[in-house]
Symmetry: C2
Subunit: 184 residues, 2 copies
């Protein structure tokens, strides 16, 4: 990832607090970060967000990028084609590995969240799958003036209005233009 892409987020108070640091900016960017964590009762992510291992889990040593106490503090459903036992971490995070697809992962996450929100932790392929299925209630995108050059395209080939999404918020700042789209 290009660091410049996340600069607006890294300097917020909420992000700094997640790193155990004090200080950081408040305001528009911080509000978006705070809101993204508020009221979340479960996460869903693709396996490439969980770790660099591809194919079968050869050993069970890898437990994510985040150390003993990941910043989730709730159940996290990891989409994978390769079964693996759940991992209970410190601080309330448990990683569950779902091999039965996005609908089943959402169902399990919904049960676990018990009325709270479910947050998609990426990556692009996972978000595209849920977008295509019309299952994303709200998507926040931060547009940053950086030319990445290559990578996965978040919206390529997705007819978002036809899928039921509409633009609901737009906040432009020198560091990032925030847009929020919602599904109706």
């Amino acid at each position: 990832m290009a660091p410049a892409l996340h600069e607006w987020m890294i300097r917020t108070r909420t992000f700094q607090a997640l790193q155990g640091e004090s200080g950081g900016e408040t305001g528009v960017h911080d509000d978006f970060v705070t809101r993204s964590f508020a009221g979340v009762g479960a996460w869903i992510m693709g396996r490439n967000m969980f770790g660099p291992i591809r194919g079968p889990w050869n050993d069970e040593e890898w437990t994510g990028w985040w150390g003993e106490n990941p910043p989730y503090h709730c159940p996290v459903y990891v989409l994978t084609n390769h079964p693996r036992s759940s991992i209970e971490m410190e601080g309330g995070t448990t990683f569950h590995f779902v091999t039965s697809g996005i609908d089943d992962a959402l169902e399990q996450a919904t049960t676990a969240a018990d009325g709270a929100d479910i947050r998609l932790g990426g990556g692009v392929h996972t978000i595209r799958q849920y977008l295509s299925a019309g299952l994303v209630d709200e998507l926040h995108v931060a547009i940053v003036p950086v030319l990445l050059g290559s990578g996965e395209a978040l919206f390529a080939g997705l007819d978002l209005p036809r899928l039921g999404y509409r633009m609901s918020e737009h906040v432009a700042t020198p560091a990032a233009t925030h847009v929020v789209m919602t599904h109706s």
Copy 2:
């Protein structure tokens, strides 16, 4: 085109003046519109920007979308696979039809512009061809919070940094986020 996409532009003083109207906004948006017309000595555009006709020019009746006195006031080179004689319009606009590709169109436009700038009038396919060839010195993009759903993708598959482009300006406003990239 979605009208909302061009709202920021339509309400500028410069755009209103082009329509023969007085009034309109000054400021950031107007500055970008003014700048886009300043010092231009020739235009290049794809034939779909010139008109709705596809294939051979069956008659010579169609002379563009803009009436007798188009807003160009200089030579305009139209990229097409189908030869046609040049058309001299009122107000200094002459449409030339180039069947020998983008390099030749640029060479002809450069000669005609005689040191002034050459502006690409679109569409997406034409801009992508010139971007890919590294021939665009400066590209202004206005990002507007509208979900279009489908259409041509301006940058899909283009590795802009590798092609020599870098981001040089970024002005974010409620109506549009303007970015400018330049070729080095």
